[in-house]
Symmetry: C2
Subunit: 321 residues, 2 copies
DNA sequence: CTGTTAGCGCCTTCAT
DNA sequence: ATGAAGGCGCTAACAG
């Protein structure tokens, strides 16, 4: 019994011959170790929980791949739980995961509220935020500088001579993808001495359709903007199609730029100019950080901000006077 | 101790007053039940494992949503494991999931080989295949009729007067998305008395880029086809962009049709005509089937085939002579 | 309705 | 290098 345990756990204190015999018996009997019993006895499950806000969002899917590759590398299993963008469900899966005795948790995307912090606080295992942060930075996290990314996006518009720049924003309640990107927009305008006009901002929900809607509104303006900054690629693509469906052209009639660089960004015509966030790396770095935390290694910086990069493609052009 | 167990498990045999007291204590102590210990004692984990071949494929993501909604409805947790389209990894996660004592397993997408069947055979819990089937139909499954879907797609091309119809296929090793769809193509041609020509078929890998490549090849043909049938929407979209980048038009110069109906199909211009598979429903029905199996209810039909439907959009037109 | 008693299958000392 | 024994936290009979 104990010897079998040793063999299964690669404990060196087993005579090679015995080890071989055990393996044979395992094979013959079709023995499969019971991870539940093992977890109970050893108080470790070698699995980490990952809560993903929306499985059908390709950004999170890519982040998840990064998480997973690193997890596998360190021999952790991961159990992914979808939370459907619902706060209530997020809290629920966090608790479920904790009950399942995961050795660590990564919380992806999503707004981190006081209730989340509360749930995290009761956990006895390390937690890292991934592609999101909490406002007061008390929890280890890996993300990009959303405001900076937005700032850069709007600035490339400005450098192309645009001054009438509209924004399709996400909800301002969302500190990262929403509010921070909006702040970046405002600061870029301010930096260029361009007046901020409220009717050049529409709030969308990050998805394609809301990009279409917002653009319809801008097309209806008496004084149309010459460029559109969308908080996400999906909304930007919606805007592009709305423009095209109206018989106008990108970038001739409107330049459009956004933030994310999802796969689809290079699968539209014209290909989308956008500020890329390193999705895979965000996941990978977050998981790496978590492994350190789980091993109680001390980490110097637990609030990591990964660099973004502007990808020039074909949806932005010099403004034509 | 036992009483606490009763209240936590909603056993009715507890005086309401005692129940209340227990809840208070739970609250006060911040007690969180240990699902691992519970699983060991009760021999049930109320979780089902889901292996997803490729988390960044939106089809599987949508199927997963169907699985999840139904799982939640029946109070099962699900643990999603990505397998990266690698057979070896698929087998590994199946075993991991089984070691974790899941109460059931859904295996999504992917080719079901003899090795898979072998792994399934050692399981003592029910398994259902989802968006795939095994060749001899010995395992419960939920899928569409891939051959029929492809047949319908090619037929709508034929009804629009096309006779020079090329196909961008998946690998013929894949029985469902590959071989079956290819068979549907051939049968449709046959049914219309059109000769099958080998150089009108290219093998892709289901992804956008391979659609582009295949289309480049067709554009280079001395006698070009007038219509393209792609085995997946992604490849179809690649083909469309390849056509457009060559200065030609869809559907004026080429009609294109495919199978899947991913979200992106209506997010391209022209919007893609395609044969829709009910992704969410495939997941939902599979999970429902699994719940029945787990409860040992008897099911009449464990090989369910869901209907597909042709969605006419703008990428197919009458052939111009 | 509530408390007592065995395990669930494994890991981990402690002897041998 | 191996075996014996206790216990991980909970559920499931069984008494009372």
């Amino acid at each position: 019994m104990a010897t079998v345990s040793r063999v299964v756990n690669n404990n060196p204190n087993v005579k090679p011959q015995t080890r071989k015999k055990v393996y044979e018996a395992i094979e013959r009997l079709g023995y499969r170790p019971n991870a539940v019993a093992r977890g109970l006895a050893s108080k470790k499950t070698t699995t980490v929980g990952v809560v993903i806000p929306d499985i059908s969002n390709s950004i999170f899917a890519e982040v998840a791949r990064g998480i997973e590759d690193i997890a596998n590398m360190y021999h952790y299993n991961i159990i992914l739980c979808n939370a459907d963008k619902k706060k209530e469900k997020e809290i629920r899966v966090i608790n479920t995961l904790l009950e399942k005795q995961v050795d660590g948790l990564v919380f992806m995307g999503g707004v981190v509220t006081e209730d989340h912090i509360q749930a995290f606080r009761t956990a006895s295992v390390p937690i890292v935020l991934c592609a999101t942060t909490d406002e007061n930075g008390s929890i280890p996290s890996v993300d990009i500088d959303h405001e900076g990314a937005a700032f850069d996006a709007v600035n490339t518009l400005i450098r192309h001579g645009h001054r009438d720049i509209a924004m399709i924003s996400g909800t301002l309640q969302d500190p990262a993808n929403g509010f921070a990107r909006f702040q970046g927009y405002k600061k870029a305008l301010e930096g260029a001495g361009i007046e901020y006009k409220e009717d050049l901002v529409r709030i969308g929900n990050y998805r394609y359709e809301s990009g279409v809607e917002a653009m319809k509104y801008f097309l209806g303006l008496k004084k149309r903007p010459t460029a559109i900054f969308a908080a996400t690629d999906e909304m930007a693509i919606g805007a592009i199609h709305c423009i095209q469906d109206a018989g106008l052209k990108v970038p001739d009639d409107f330049s459009v730029i956004s933030v994310d660089n999802i796969r689809m960004a290079s699968m539209v015509r014209p290909q989308l100019t956008t500020v890329a966030q390193p999705m895979y790396d965000i996941g990978a770095v977050a998981m790496r950080l978590l492994t350190k935390l789980m091993k109680k290694e001390n980490v110097e910086n637990s609030q990591v901000v990964l660099p973004h990069e502007t990808i020039l493609r074909l949806s932005v052009s010099q403004v034509n006077e």
